[in-house]
Symmetry: C2
């Protein structure tokens, strides 16, 4: 009974499996086998919707990847390796590759000629919410003496809040924003200033969503377009550029004193 089911609900899983190096067909066949518990090629074809002729080469690849095993009966029966076991080894292989790649790339990176002069004065653009938060993450994680953050409350997302909480106690963290934080969410080395009255006084206007992150007074990230679908940010280690915002910061703190 050729009951060919269409490519149904298997929505996000396929995308996730693609990250692990599986093709569309490989994902479909593997999922079908997880459902079926030892099936023939034809049955796999019926469940997965993958053309019957394509099932065989796809199964070969899955076998080589250690996700599927074959019986020695005739006709052959195929069975999925349990997903926790199969994915574990798949991921392990990727992690090994990543480790090897990192090793070689770091070697290249460190042996390059350092012409930092130019680079120091450069202002760089970052794209994508994820990448921006990653950069902030690295700034906070590597901060040795001080961290300064100011801007709209929305900028300090739960993830960033979490990163702040993990900054060592020896690092002075200064935050100036217009909102509040849950009590006890921040360690004692973090000082929060409320700039709401400054905003109302017209001293801080413009890009509502812009925000500034400064680490050790030498690394700066300027976040823009926070409400856009693809936000962007500027990053710089330029002393001149930094000084601009450090002055800005001085302005804020002294204004708050009055």
């Amino acid at each position: 009974m050729p009951m060919v089911t269409t490519t149904k609900d298997t929505g996000p899983v396929r995308e996730h499996l693609k990250s692990l190096g599986l093709t569309k067909y490989e994902a479909l066949v593997y999922i079908a086998l997880l459902r079926a518990e030892s099936a023939s090629a034809t049955k796999i074809h019926e469940i997965s919707g993958v053309p019957r002729a394509s099932v065989y080469p796809v199964l070969d690849k899955l076998i080589k990847k250690g996700l599927v095993s074959v019986s020695n009966t005739t006709p052959k029966q195929f069975d999925a390796v349990p997903p926790d076991e199969g994915l574990k080894h798949l991921l392990l292989q990727i992690e090994r590759d990543a480790e090897a790649a990192k090793k070689e790339l770091v070697a290249i990176y460190q042996s390059r000629e350092d012409h930092e002069e130019r680079k120091q004065e450069m202002i760089w653009t970052l794209a994508g919410r994820e990448n921006i938060e990653n950069r902030i993450s690295d700034m906070l994680a590597n901060a040795a003496s001080s961290v300064i953050i100011f801007g709209a409350r929305d900028l300090i997302t739960p993830r960033i809040l979490d990163l702040i909480a993990q900054v060592p106690g020896t690092v002075a963290v200064d935050i100036a924003t217009d909102g509040t934080f849950a009590p006890g969410a921040l360690p004692p080395n973090v000082r929060v200033r409320d700039i709401e009255n400054l905003i109302q006084a017209g001293l801080l206007q413009g890009e509502q969503m812009a925000g500034v992150f400064i680490a050790d007074r030498e690394r700066l990230l300027l976040r823009l377009n926070g409400d856009d679908i693809s936000p962007s940010a500027l990053y710089s280690e330029s002393p001149a550029f930094l000084q601009l915002f450090l002055n800005y910061w001085n302005h804020i703190t002294t204004s708050l004193l009055t």
Copy 2:
């Protein structure tokens, strides 16, 4: 000076980066940027050998992946994110995907109808040295009461030896082989028998490289063609099939008593 270097030594790195989802060009451009420290598109083209026109879209993708940042100067300058940082986030994303996929797939796997009868009697084929060792790994890691291993000494590779050493002390491990082990390499719950004299007596012949791994007397892996380029193995939970080798095992142990 158009000094277009050919796709040179960057041998294995590219393969490793492919595991992380990078294409050939992406890998070449990223490596070039690691060498160059903030270069223009043309310079990247010269170093990497990637066609100049192709460099731009490739850089876009690398930027989206958080591996490259752009200056706001004109002409644009590009710079590589340090590899340890960049690869970390890349791998993190993959691990998140793997975790999500595992969750969904395990759900599917557990909700499938259990028709174990047929499967129990089945004998499965595994392909590839890596996959075979992975299966052995899982057998040893999940063994609850007993482990039996017999066959040529070559089968017990350093990795397997390591796995044996990690088996909990409550599990009785029996090994029969024709070679020796470094003193202290094995914990006290492992008992080793020497079958060399049995081999010389002609009681154990045939496939020199075949070996048997049995866990809890209910899971069996039969390794074949150990010297072949792509070795294979049989796996089974069939009681009948298992009994065959348990008898074999009895034969060995009793023969050694005389």
